[in-house]
């Protein structure tokens, strides 16, 4: 059997009712997408391209108007499966302050298992495991407002892991963080993906983060513009720029040099690879 699909979206249609105009604001007109279980997918796109709307479809916060969304074989339209869907696909949002419920870290992480009716002893174990998995176990008695942004976001991730989800959707989790906090969150996410086999869907507009994914999906006006490994996607500099996106600094450099007549490999994405390529060229 092939790898199980974590997410299968077929022919998704969706529109937000517009408050000012009679016409609703159309977001998706027939979107198809499948995500393999265990993969690390980055979704890129300009503001208003439908990334966040897409994320909200993955755990039934929004329901499709037409077409269907299946997560691990469950139809998000099936109301009886609502809790199962939300427990399977966890969601982390941009502002860590607005997703914490309790004023002690461990109480906050316990929120989801408490809602699911997990027995106390089991909650204790899950909370400890989740906090250890994000490296925040030592802060379990702290008040959330005394933590740094990166730490808060890691607690938010722990709060989702405590549900023992098979997939985590992160909606621009690093947008409000400083570089250090961003790195903390990215490392945590990568570790969860590799060590626990949790499928990760990372919505971002940081190119440097998207490079670290297995697969990059670029969206533009509700459509998938391009889809593939980072090495396949980023060399398409003109296409990305047409969608209002910048490319990683390394790609930008190589693109400019190649325009000027050099012959560098366009898929050298990391700083290391780029430096190697430049070194090889200068030596030759």
């Amino acid at each position: 059997m092939a790898v199980q699909k974590a997410v299968t979206i077929s022919d998704l249609h969706f529109a937000y009712p517009s408050q000012t105009e009679a016409e609703p604001l159309r977001i998706f007109d027939g979107l198809d997408l499948a995500i393999d279980e265990g993969s690390f997918v980055a979704v890129l796109g300009h503001n208003g391209c439908g990334k966040s709307t897409l994320a909200k479809h993955l755990n039934a916060i929004l329901l499709p108007e037409g077409g269907s969304v299946h997560v691990f074989g469950m139809d998000t339209k099936d109301e009886d499966l609502l809790l199962d869907i939300r427990r399977t696909v966890g969601m982390v949002f941009q502002n860590p302050d607005n997703q914490m419920v309790a004023n002690v870290v461990e109480e906050d992480v316990a929120f989801a298992p408490e809602n699911l009716g997990v027995p106390s002893g089991e909650i204790r174990r899950r909370v400890d495991d989740a906090l250890k998995a994000v490296g925040m176990y030592d802060y379990r008695k702290h008040a959330p407002h005394l933590l740094s942004g990166g730490q808060k976001q890691r607690v938010a991730i722990a709060g989702v892991i405590a549900m023992q989800p098979r997939c985590i959707v992160l909606d621009e989790p690093t947008a409000m963080l400083d570089p250090q906090g961003r790195e903390e969150v990215m490392r945590t996410v990568e570790r969860l993906n590799r060590e626990k086999g949790i499928t990760v869907v990372l919505i971002t507009h940081h190119m440097t983060e998207a490079i670290r994914a297995d697969r990059v999906i670029v969206m533009d006006r509700g459509k998938i513009l391009t889809d593939g490994t980072p090495k396949q996607v980023f060399p398409q500099v003109e296409l990305l720029k047409s969608a209002g996106l910048s490319v990683p600094a390394t790609t930008q450099l190589i693109y400019a040099l190649n325009e000027a007549g050099c012959a560098l490999p366009p898929d050298a994405l990391t700083t290391e690879e780029c430096a190697q390529a430049l070194y090889a060229m200068l030596k030759a």
């Binding site: 607005n98 316990a110 809602n115």
Partner: protein
């Protein structure tokens, strides 16, 4: 500047009083208040005072902290005392112009002041030794029989704990908004009271808008974490009555019984 406000006057500690179940403490405060109102004469007030003194010593809360809590009530206490001194009939001690001070008036005023002080200190002692979360949990558990009458007990407890969680966040935000408006030339310090009140509008409007946005995001985040009301919900920390709780409650019953007996004899 706003960060200096102390919130949820909780003094962490590890004494017997701190370790008591929050429900026990809530019940004891109610019992104590009832007992205070049944006190009639010096003996029963003495018993109530001795009881509170014992709890204060056990809790290791400094008297200074307790008296600090009484400060805002000073005016009310003085006011009731003065009213009682002048408006009670009985044996006249001093008389001048339209004022008359009676023996009964003096005693009444003394008892009233003592009653208010003991009441306030008793209640403060509970909030000083119980974390806000524990207090909310205790309240939810104590009120849970009301769920049968469709009283939204869980929802109220949830509201309280979310409010407690967001107070520091909103204070921080207010601080930021004040700085931002000052940077744009807003003036909060000069002018009469109306002018100053008006100057608060540019702070309150953004604060409210942001609070609504936060509430909206929080609601989504809670839904994502499978929140669906209080039904079938479990707790990380289960509240459990232990031996010390049973003992305390028995002690409370004895105190109440004793005061009622003393009242019977007019003591």
């Amino acid at each position: 500047m706003l960060k200096d406000i102390t919130l949820g006057q909780y003094f962490p500690g590890d004494t017997v009083i701190h370790r008591l179940d929050p429900r026990t403490k809530l019940l004891m405060v109610i019992v104590y208040i009832v007992a205070l109102f049944l006190c009639k004469w010096f003996v029963s007030y003495g018993v109530a005072l001795a009881f509170l003194a014992t709890v204060i010593i056990l809790s290791k809360i400094r008297l200074k902290a307790l008296f600090k809590g009484l400060k805002p009530l000073l005016i009310i206490i003085l006011f009731t005392a003065v009213l009682n001194i002048f408006y009670t009939d009985g044996t006249v001690l001093v008389e001048f112009w339209i004022f008359r001070i009676t023996r009964e008036g003096l005693i009444n005023a003394f008892f009233l002041v003592l009653r208010i002080m003991l009441l306030v200190m008793g209640t403060f002692l509970m909030t000083y030794t119980t974390s806000p979360i524990a207090l909310t949990d205790g309240l939810e558990s104590l009120l849970s029989p009301l769920k049968k009458l469709r009283f939204p007990v869980h929802e109220l407890a949830m509201m309280m704990s979310i409010a407690l969680r967001f107070i520091p966040t909103l204070i921080e935000e207010t601080d930021k908004i004040i700085s931002a408006q000052k940077a744009r030339g807003a003036d909060f310090e000069t002018g009469n009271i109306f002018r100053r009140a008006k100057a608060l509008i540019p702070i309150l409007v953004p604060l409210f808008v942001s609070a609504f946005r936060r509430a909206d995001e929080l609601a989504t985040a809670m839904e994502c974490r499978c929140y669906h009301g209080g039904k079938g919900r479990t707790k990380l920390k289960q509240l459990r009555y232990r031996r010390r709780d049973v003992l305390s409650l028995l002690l409370g019953a004895v105190l109440l019984g004793g005061i009622i007996t003393l009242r019977h004899f007019g003591l």
